[in-house]
Subunit: 448 residues, 2 copies
């Protein structure tokens, strides 16, 4: 199967245009309301009509098709545990992380983006988890790794990994997004695919120890403690300030991800997990937590990961992700080969509470339709949405808009730029638009 980088093969022709003129016009105007559902249903069914079985089958002789066996049905396969640790199919070699050419001077301080256009659900396969390093990734011997807790504590601690893995553990599904996700889009629609517009985003089930457990263990000073400093063991010594309230709420030190130990490029053997907060604070290769009474004003929170506002001032310590969403299929670089039914699918997430609703527009934001949310819908986790759409062959602009449980509504680019200008790097949560041309090509545009 010839899958290009953007997997256009997943967008396939409907066999014929079965829509009447009135229906086409209604859809062009975006009238996919409840009354249109049965119509869409029919469109979907008609769309598959040409997939009907060959003539021999229709004549009742379906066995002919089946008896013409492919080679894999006639041979002995590979044994169990042929790969003691399993790997993807050889046909999936294009579904990989990618860097963006020219984005960074060195790949040790760069980004590898997740191929969201070919991914499903709310769990990110660990092999496809995005990467963002400041001095490259390391594979630390867990027997030699230590976590120190010091500062405003009665009993400073140094834990081994085995110590940590004995403590009360929790498992929770959360999203992690780099604060610089969608960074290249502040000025204009700059990159071609959803891998590059939104691919610094992953969802995982983390297992570890709550910070509240560790801070209690160390006897932190409940009156004076206001902030934590988290420090990583890689060459960059990444250091970030965390509010103590957030630390005591749902933050954790995680050793497990998606049922196994963390991957080296994601912080093995230990990383900080701060649900809802930008990824840079989820310090990887975590070696130290210091309890303090004021923000630490480290390099990566005073000069980087700050927001350049329209008045020229820098806004610091804006770390919580506001509600955001993106359609992953169809998306930039893909091509709709013919008219007909499409399942429009995407992701929504928020750093506050949970996703309440996702609206989808096919006409650039004039009309909105409520998407189906796949269960489970969890706090500070990715939420998968799906909605039916019949493409009539005319131009269309696909958008999704997330609303979270606090009532926050994902902004348009106009709204975002009105508040924050267009010279920022971080914290871009504007509505993403995918323009479908009459030839079916899907492109990144900024609308609304």
């Amino acid at each position: 199967m010839d899958r290009s980088k953007v997997r256009p093969g997943r967008i396939r022709p409907a066999p014929e245009n079965f829509l009447d003129a009135d229906s086409l016009d209604a859809i062009r105007r975006g009238q996919i309301d409840e009354d249109r559902r049965s119509f869409i249903r029919k469109s979907f069914l008609a769309a598959t009509a040409a997939m009907a079985a060959p003539a021999a089958m229709a004549a009742g002789d379906g066995d002919e098709h089946i008896l013409n066996l492919p080679p894999w049905s006639k041979k002995l396969g590979y044994p169990v545990a042929h790969n003691p640790y399993g790997q993807p199919s050889k046909y999936e070699s294009n579904l990989v992380r990618r860097t963006s050419p020219g984005l960074a001077a060195t790949d040790q301080a760069n980004v590898a983006f997740s191929p969201l256009q070919g991914m499903f659900g709310i769990i990110t396969a660990s092999g496809l988890h995005f990467e963002r390093h400041h001095q490259g990734w390391v594979d630390i011997d867990p027997a030699k790794h230590r976590l120190m807790i010091n500062g405003l504590v009665d009993k400073p601690r140094v834990y081994t990994m085995d110590d940590l893995m004995r403590l009360p553990s929790v498992s929770r599904i959360h999203f992690v997004e780099c604060g610089a996700n969608s960074a290249m889009e502040w000025g204009n629609a700059a990159v071609p695919t959803v891998q590059y517009t939104h691919g610094m985003l992953s969802g995982n089930e983390y297992t570890g120890v709550l910070l509240s457990t560790l801070l209690e263990d160390a006897g932190f000073d409940e009156k004076k403690a206001k902030y934590l400093l988290a420090e990583g063991a890689d060459g960059s010594s990444m250091t970030r300030t965390i509010d103590i309230e957030r630390a005591l709420d749902d933050a954790m030190v995680a050793y497990g991800s998606n049922g196994e130990m963390l991957r080296p490029e994601n912080g093995y053997p230990l990383r900080l997990v701060v649900p809802g907060v930008q990824g840079v604070s989820w310090v990887k290769w975590l070696r130290r937590l210091e309890v303090g009474d004021q923000p630490y004003a480290t390099k990566d929170e005073t000069s980087h990961y700050v927001d350049l506002m329209p008045d020229g001032m820098q806004r610091q310590y804006t770390s919580i992700h506001e509600a955001k969403s993106v359609i992953t299929t169809p998306s930039g670089g893909q091509k709709l080969l013919t008219q007909g039914y499409y399942n429009v699918s995407g992701l929504a997430w928020t750093g506050r509470g949970h996703i309440k609703r996702v609206d989808v527009s096919v006409d650039g934001g004039r009309n909105w339709h409520t998407a189906r949310l796949e269960e489970p819908v969890l706090p500070k986790a990715l939420t998968r949405f799906n909605i039916d759409w019949v493409w009539d062959g005319g131009p269309a602009i696909l958008q999704s808009r997330a609303i979270d449980s606090t009532g926050f509504v994902q902004p348009t680019y106009s709204q975002l730029r009105d508040a924050r200008g267009s010279r920022s790097i971080y914290h871009n949560n504007a509505i993403q638009s995918w323009q479908v041309s009459e030839n079916g090509e899907v492109a990144n545009v900024h609308v609304g």
Copy 2:
């Protein structure tokens, strides 16, 4: 880090016996009730006391420890996308699937078990998903794969993978368990570790198309249709009968698992997902669904995957998993090196509804204590439980007991054998017992 097959390294010493005689006795009798919680909390805190920072730190000179930097803190690491598709740490090479020596004559018709003793949460890393094949696994070219729907339908269909991936999609988290999981345990406690007692069990987020969508598309005969035949494309032509009610409820054809395409050994590019039903019915490499009006009585449902009852008769078509659970840590083959606090962790699951409660006993079933369930608790999905335990150094027998939303209570071995004898192979959901000896060794035993 030296991790043996059973990762005893995860079970580490508590530094000292800090318990008084009365407390020891209370725990020996299993009295971990609500009144004991604060005591356990203290035990946990005391257990970590000896992890205190070295003398230099206590003297306020913690920097000495930090400045003595390990090599990974002083070098440039690997670049992003060094592995475009990521891999586990080199230190995790013991966490793999394994076969059980002598279990099958050929590894093309064998089992590879998941290492549950070293796994976390409710999502199974795809590289560790258990394997059970009947003629080996194959890596099918998805461009050449077809799914046929025939039988009692108006419009027989042949779908390509691209056709299927265009249809309305759903994403859902479910468990899959081989009907022969725990098979070797019917007679007595036969195998040493949880990898072999319960390792034919995995949990995944599946993405695909509901069977109800496909059957509607094919125009199935709603009056006559009672059963489906599902058929695989591997050399074994695995064929299984599925009730039409179950098919129309929550069954699906899945192409995605944990955010990416299925792995070859798990049915790439397409498998049937029948939530709550034993794994053999989740036909891998799915190539055909036939709608019929009676069970198909295939080899793998009439002579295999049947229950030999005490009266010598075979019970067929018993495919739904009843509630079951197992403690994965501590578990067989591990060793508790000293007394003190332990986090007891395990999995519970049911083919009907969802897990309502998990009870844990440390005294072989005389007293039971309610475990914490990690969110999310989903229908027909793995549920992770955790509970605090302080080991006093005396003999103990650890057990877990699942209760599901239908009120079903996981049976003891006595109860199971009273109903079904001891000569079965399949559908063993008895309570698992792990015996902790005074020397800390944990062994598989049958109790109760």
